[in-house]
């Protein structure tokens, strides 16, 4: 059991989460990708905490758990609201803050 194995796992998990956020258009998959990235950070913190034999890394991971819970509550409420407003979860449909008025319906 080596710390480099855990580093590799955390990096791969982060890469997969980033790929999910940046390449999918389903809002729910984007949310799950963010969760995967936060979990990768947690794994990295736990590994460093274990290797340095100090509890501070675990405490930061615990604070990130609270962040995960807050993000879940907010993102899922936002998901319900967005689905209610346009009856879709396609992130390409929610562009009315990014584009001008005349391009809005053509997207």
């Amino acid at each position: 059991m080596n710390s480099e194995n855990f580093f590799i796992l955390a990096i791969i998990l982060f890469m997969i989460g980033l790929a999910g956020v940046s390449s999918r258009r389903n809002l729910f998959v984007i949310y799950l990708g963010i969760e995967l990235m936060l979990s990768a950070v947690n794994l990295l913190l736990a590994t460093i905490s274990r290797a340095t034999q100090q509890g501070s890394g675990s405490v930061i991971a615990l604070l990130i758990f609270a962040l995960i819970a807050a993000e879940a509550a907010l993102f899922l409420a936002m998901l319900v609201q967005l689905y209610r407003s346009k009856r879709t979860l396609d992130s390409g449909r929610f562009t009315h803050l990014a584009q001008e008025e005349k391009y809005r319906d053509a997207a």
């Binding site: 480099e4 194995n5 995967l36 990295l44 501070s56 409420a77």
Partner: protein
């Protein structure tokens, strides 16, 4: 030896679950992959002698987030035509993963240069007692700030999710004309039920 094989098995489930999470087409399969990935991650926390993080991972990521996400998806009653049309998603994901390999290598080199090795755990490492001592002695202010964050998130979630009267009006849909509305209109919705 046992630890290495456990690490291999848990790592396989972690990565496979994560890949299913982002690549599957149906949302239920996404959540199932996420669940497998999070349980494997809890096992990895246990392998790192961190029993409290193991418990927290099971309780929060598996017990709260995944279950809440399942309930939300079931409540939304997602239909096939209401989801994004992504026929090339696997190819795009593979391309993005290939693009990310250099970044991952850089991060790996930086982490491996720290020279951290896992030695046998000290007495009382990772237990609830030592973690609580660290939390309430050195990390008290961030802990209190996180409680304020959770309060704000709770209030915001209630405020976001309850604004229903405006969006449920028909004029809102006439103004925006999303593509999936036409298929919804033909179904027996609120008018016929009344």
């Amino acid at each position: 030896m046992l630890e290495n094989s456990l690490l291999f098995i848990l790592g396989f489930f972690l990565i496979a679950g994560a890949l299913v999470t982002i690549a599957a087409k149906e949302v239920a399969y996404n959540i199932a992959g996420f669940l497998i990935s999070m349980i494997a991650l809890a096992g990895l926390f246990g392998l790192l002698d961190n029993s409290f993080l193991f418990l927290a991972q099971i309780m929060i990521s598996v017990g709260a987030v995944a279950v809440l996400a399942t309930i939300v998806i079931m409540t939304l009653n997602l239909r096939f035509e209401n989801q994004a049309y992504e026929p090339n998603r696997v190819r795009i994901i593979i391309g993005v993963l290939l693009l990310e390999i250099p970044i991952g290598l850089v991060i790996y080199k930086a982490l491996a240069a720290s020279g951290l090795v896992i030695t046998p755990a000290a007495e009382g490492y990772g237990t609830l007692k030592s973690l609580g001592k660290t939390l309430f002695e050195e990390w008290l202010v961030p802990f209190e700030l996180v409680s304020i964050l959770l309060l704000a998130a709770m209030i915001a979630a209630i405020a976001i999710a309850r604004r229903e009267k405006y969006y449920d009006k028909e004029e809102y849909f006439d103004h925006y004309k999303p593509h999936a509305i036409e298929t919804n209109r033909t179904e027996p919705d609120s008018e016929e039920l009344q």
